[in-house]
Symmetry: C2
Subunit: 283 residues, 2 copies
């Protein structure tokens, strides 16, 4: 028997991988959760039929969403992570001894439970004593916060279903309020290539730049995601992601990474012309 | 009826696109040639079942293989292009008035004939009077050349079938000999992500660096190619791709591009750590 899982990248594009076995499947209050073992990508987490992370390339996503702001902001003590139920972003953040507290707000506890059981390489630091997990609606959580965080990371799914509210202007405004005066907001920013996603890129960027004095986008290669060309938003009240990058300080930390490095950090902000046009930032 | 074309990215990964119609199909002396019209990518050129170019993203490949060396070498007059039967690389090169002659060596005339008929946006400059087309075996062609070119671009298919010989040390040595003292060699360098391709990346880079004093690799996002993470090799006798980039001069030319720009040029050489390790260039 051959078993194949297909992720629908657009209505006319399919990405399929051969599966060795379906490891687990359940239905939470919010979504269907599947864990598959694929031949090429190792274990794969699927929510409502859509690929979330694979064992082979989750390091790219999680390194790029975490280390870019950490190499810019000189003094991160309190971090809020929204979504991130798989634990990968937390794993990267716990590499910094200077971080004192990480609040994680994930709507679906069952995702975290499944990852604790089946994605141990990814979820291995969720038990770090600096990590506080809140299983609740993040929009409401953030609305109650004032001047509490140095860094907020929005590590969420695509903007439909549970994550829809995480791409609105109201939400970004509440993040602004929850951040200190030199705070940074990072959000997963979808892909610029297929028109279904590029509209989200444009809308999210337009919302963020109305809220934050500084707002830009950086890119990386995530082969298992639609088009493989993935963006993150970098918004801040004070710091510039290139001028305020402290390469020497970051490299001195001796943090082991497989994708991120401080040269690539700079390169990731140099966007293709068509992406700059999409964002309205082409001179 | 639904018609889908599938490109096999690895034996366990498939990339499929919905097809409106099969526009043309023929068998040349060397390979089977198909042209399809897809819903998402526009027209698609397929050789022996493998996706070569799509109307939607061929600009990324062709801009990155052409403009990177052209923005570094200050005085390109004679160019040799190997493969490139679709004409896209030629289209980009003809944007430079300073180029006096472009020799194109393509083994399969039928590919060029099909592209002249069906890929007019790509093949539109093959009739430029500076272009000289040779339909013959390129290994032999290059072997006969001495100190003739400022730039050689190897715009070929994957390293099996007709293009196999274009990834050997002997071939790179002949390119070195065919170049002037300040010449540059650019080659399509496959993808670092799937192990089937990353072995080629490693082997090709090891061959080239034994032949050229300066050799490195740069990257871009080509969503229709396996993993979407594509590499090109930059090898030269004299010029460094970042230190010798003349941004001001290139920007003054006013060449219209949709992917390439001189900031992205620099960024494309800043590679992920795992790619640097693959190439043996990680400090």
């Amino acid at each position: 028997m051959e078993l194949w899982y297909t992720d629908q990248h657009t209505k006319d594009v399919r990405f399929s991988m051969k599966i060795e076995e379906q490891i687990a499947s359940c239905e939470s209050e919010f979504q269907r959760i599947d864990i598959l073992k694929s031949c090429e990508f190792g274990k794969v987490l699927v929510l409502d039929g859509e690929l979330m992370i694979t064992q082979k390339d989750e390091f790219i996503y999680h390194e790029m969403i975490s280390h870019v702001p950490m190499a810019v902001h000189p003094n991160v003590k309190n971090v809020l992570v929204i979504g991130a139920g798989d634990g990968g972003t937390i794993r990267e953040l716990t590499k910094y001894d200077t971080i004192e507290r990480i609040d994680m707000v994930e709507i679906d506890k069952m995702v975290t439970d499944m990852c604790l059981e089946h994605f141990q390489e990814t979820s291995c630091k969720l038990n770090d004593k600096r990590v506080h997990m809140y299983f609740e609606e993040s929009l409401r959580y953030v609305r109650m916060k004032n001047d509490e965080y140095d860094l907020i990371i929005v590590d969420c799914a695509d903007p439909y279903g549970p994550a829809e509210g995480l791409f609105t202007r109201e939400f970004y405004g509440n993040c602004f309020k929850a951040l200190h005066d030199d705070g940074i907001l990072i959000n997963q920013h979808e892909s610029p290539y297929y028109s279904e996603h590029s509209r989200t890129v444009q809308k999210a960027h337009n919302h963020i730049k109305l809220v934050f004095p500084f707002s830009t986008v950086y890119q990386c290669h995530i082969p298992s995601y639609p088009s493989g060309h993935w963006l993150f938003g970098f918004a801040s009240k004070k710091y510039d992601p290139i001028n305020d990058l402290n390469e020497e300080a970051w490299n001195k930390l001796g943090i082991k990474t497989r994708y991120y490095n401080t040269d690539l950090h700079k390169g990731s902000f140099y966007l293709p012309t068509y992406v700059k046009e999409l964002l309205g930032t082409n001179e």
